[in-house]
Amino acid sequence: MTRKQKRLSILAGFAVVLALATTLVLVALRDQIVFFYSPSDIAERGVAAGEPIRLGGLVKTGSWTRVGETNDFVVTDGQTEMSARYVGILPDLFREGQGVVAEGSVTPTGSFLASNVLAKHDENYMPRELVEELKRRGEWEPEDVALGASR
């Protein structure tokens, strides 16, 4: 092969791999991303049962009950409430009245089944999505978080 042909063959190989990778990333981005919803979002827009989503809000005070390894609690954004269930051990920082983000899906009966409840190393953690959502709905009280930190 001449020098030019060698270069062309290498470049063609590059182009093929990059094209494949780009396609792959785009397809994955379309199918594998998870949207963040507040309970009100779900009430307003509706979410297909079984579609993986993230649900964020505050754990309603007095709503957390536990039978064996099954935890039931209510996620609220101040306007709409949604009952959620998680089977397993909740993170250490899961508390009533504090923010929570749960991964899972809406069941046909309209409640939320969490496959994973996210917590953070930091106890005054508020997911950014949640903070913005609460701000948007006028429920954001930064003092709560500050109090939580110095508790």
Binding site: M1, R3, K6, S9, I10, G13, F14, V17, L18, A21, L24, V25, A28, L29, Q32, I33, V34, F35, F36, R54, R66, G68, E69, V87, G88, I89, L90, D92, L93, E103, L118, A119, K120, H121, D122, E123, P127, R128, E129, E132, E133, S150, R151
Partner: protein, 660 residues
């Protein structure tokens, strides 16, 4: 008093770094005197920052609560180790550690760089000083660790309990050495662009720094993964969380750099690409350190974030990274290309390696930043989680792993693929045999797992096959081939060992992903349960006081299938200073596999929720990374590649290329 001295040392280091940056980048052509000044200034910066850091450590050890940082992140009841590690368990202190490592590398270049041409040395040290000035300045002006608190409280607020672990002593320093080490490669790249001179000798000077940083980054990521695995109590070892991605991207780019620098050193080709990789690797390291801190992305692992400084950080990153790439755009064409080779050759395989690693880096970057972009464009919050990364990363890695064993077998310039395939046939056959054997023994269920194992064994055996082939074991008398085996250059051993590590990690990842079992159940004291053949009895629970926490400690007897019984103590702790609860998992290691137990909150009466995992061959994941790092260290110890080793052959093209 000493705190003010530390503060003063930090400010002085900032001032010296600023002067050095101007002198180095402005007068790099001026020869010996400028280079000598910069060498002394670099060592002085290290001494000053070292003193500042020592002062901070002293204040934490002595629990000096007139220091605001100690008040916020320490407590006099904390064990000594955690009082020391608490220094970098927060934003300000970790910044100072970052700068300390930066100046350590600057001083190391100054000390070991006597062989470097004066102009190159001046440019590199000038660039290092510029980085030091930028980040020491950032520390002084926005994140000053030496701020006093008046009146001083009697007691501190304690360090986040999750961080009170040996992991904080190991993981951040290793990771930072890895991140910051790439700054040297970055400075060398900038120096090459400014001076317009780049050759095989340049690659040889950069190589040890790349290797060193890569080894530390590998260890840092690996230790971080193990720490998260046992501390978070989720049983997972990798979450594709933004912080993890941020550390993984420079690793992938650094791995690519390691390989492309090889081509440049041996064949004087791929110059522009290597310079580009050096810039991008450190840019990703900066992104790794700061993007998460800026508060733009949230992560489970962030513990030192402060969104208020986000804008400053982003501006600094934009100037540094943007400046570097602008320079690259203007000057890259002045770097002459060289070295002809066929697509099927060692060079070709290393290009392929770079192509896949760079693509993987790109895919992870897209996945990590996509939520930001979508949020900015449409206002919708999304998360790109494990499914995205598993799919794209695996799809890109599989072809890389398939071709990996071919690389070291191929000759430079022009390789013979058919001959190499024949020489690898043994490794392929053995890998296939083992994979089928495991497939049959594990119940022959149809899944991707045996294929994944096949890939892991293929990479591992392929690496060993290279050594066997080169030593001609089986084709020469045994003693003769042993002599050849141990006479092989260390780089050949290093390559084989590092690639073997990749195979071992792949095997660990595949087996734990495919054959892990998990159970969540409620247990009363006296109950016995079973997971993967291990019988687990709940013997009791008691309160145990710790130094700065109270622990509720469960006692479990775990009986292995072969009969041995061991005791496990998963805990739930309440830290007295902060009132924060943490869960401490109990992990029992059997061979390469682990039984992982997590204790939940108590229910009614004596019952507790217990989460159990059986993780087959999970430790291979980290053992593999240790093997990779060992390979890197071995290569680093190779005399010919040492920084101080005589570096002749500055003229490209005339150097004889060893036929290895």
């Amino acid at each position: 008093m000493s705190i003010e001295l530390g503060h003063f040392a930090l400010v002085l280091a900032f001032a010296i770094a600023s002067v050095s940056a101007v002198v180095g980048l402005g007068f790099w052509k001026s020869g010996e005197r400028i280079a000598g000044f910069l060498q002394q200034a670099s060592i002085l910066q290290f001494v000053l920052i070292g003193a500042a850091f020592a002062v901070l450590v002293q204040a934490f050890v002595l629990s000096d609560f007139s220091l605001a940082l100690a008040v916020n992140h320490s407590h006099s009841d904390k064990p000594l180790l955690y009082r020391i590690t608490g220094v970098w368990g927060n934003h300000e202190g970790s910044m100072l550690l970052w700068v300390l490592i930066l100046v350590l590398f600057g001083a190391a270049v100054a000390a070991f760089g006597r062989q470097l041409p004066r102009d190159l040395l001046s440019l590199v040290l000038g660039m290092q000083s510029l980085l030091t000035a930028a980040f020491a300045g950032f520390t002084v002006f926005t994140s000053n660790p030496f701020e006093r608190m008046n009146p001083a409280p009697l007691q501190g607020m304690d360090l986040n309990p999750v961080l009170q672990d040996i992991g904080l002593a190991i993981h951040p320093p290793l990771l930072y050495i890895g991140y910051v080490g790439f700054s040297v490669c970055f400075s060398f790249a900038i120096a090459a662009l400014i001076s317009g001179r780049i050759d095989a000798a340049w690659a040889r000077w950069v190589r040890p720094w790349t290797l060193l940083s890569w080894v530390f980054l590998t260890l840092g990521i690996s230790m971080g993964s193990y720490w998260a695995y046992y501390e978070l109590g989720w049983g997972g070892w990798w979450f594709w969380d933004p912080v993890e991605n941020a550390s993984f991207m420079p690793w992938l780019a650094g791995t690519a750099l390691l390989h492309s620098a090889l081509v440049m050193e041996k064949r004087n080709a791929m110059k522009v690409w290597t310079v580009f990789l050096a810039i991008i690797t450190f840019s990703l390291s900066l992104l790794g350190t700061f993007l998460v801190r800026s508060g733009i992305l949230t992560s489970v692992h962030t513990f030192a974030s402060d969104p208020t400084r986000g804008l400053v950080i982003l501006t600094m990153l934009a100037i540094l990274i943007g400046g570097a790439f602008s320079l690259f755009a203007f000057r890259a064409s002045s770097l002459r290309q060289g070295g002809l080779f066929a697509p099927i050759s060692r060079e070709g395989s290393l290009i392929l390696n770079n192509l896949f690693l760079a693509t993987a880096t790109g895919a992870i970057l897209v996945g990590t930043l996509y939520p930001l972009v979508l949020d900015a464009l449409t206002g919708r919050s999304i998360s790109v989680g494990a499914p995205f990364f598993d799919l794209t990363f695996a799809a890109i890695m599989v072809p890389l792993l398939i071709v990996l064993p071919f690389g070291p077998f191929l000759a430079w310039k022009r390789g013979d693929l058919v001959a190499v395939t024949q020489r690898l046939a043994g490794a392929a056959g053995l890998a296939l045999f083992v994979a089928i054997l495991i497939f049959a023994l594990s119940g022959a269920s149809i899944s991707l797992a045996p294929l994944g194992l096949l890939l892991g064994f293929w990479v591992g055996f392929g690496a060993i096959a290279e050594l066997i082939d080169r030593a001609r074991i089986g084709r020469l008398p045994f003693r003769e081939s042993m002599r050849r085996l141990f006479g092989l250059p260390r780089t050949a051993w290093a390559t084989a060992i590092a690639h073997l590590g990749v195979g071992v990690t792949v095997i660990g990842v595949v087996s734990v992903t495919a054959w892990e079992t998990e159970r969540v159940l409620t247990m009363n004291v006296g109950d016995v349960t079973e997971i993967a053949g291990y019988s687990i009895a709940f013997d009791g629970i008691q309160d145990v006081p710790g130094p700065n926490f109270v622990s509720e400690e469960g006692t479990f007897s775990v009986t292995a299938p072969d009969g041995g019984t061991r005791t496990a103590h998963p805990e739930r702790r309440i830290y007295t200073a902060s009132g924060q609860p943490t869960t401490e998992a109990a992990i029992l290691t059997y061979g390469f596999s682990q039984v992982y137990m997590q204790l939940g909150e108590d229910g009614s009466g004596e019952s507790h929720v217990v989460r159990l995992w059986y993780k087959p061959y999970v430790t291979l994941i980290w053992i593999g990374t240790l093997i990779m790092a060992a390979g890197g260290l071995l290569s680093l110890s190779y005399r010919r590649l040492r920084v101080g080793a005589p570096a002749k052959a500055a003229r490209p093209g005339e150097r004889t290329v060893p036929a290895e």
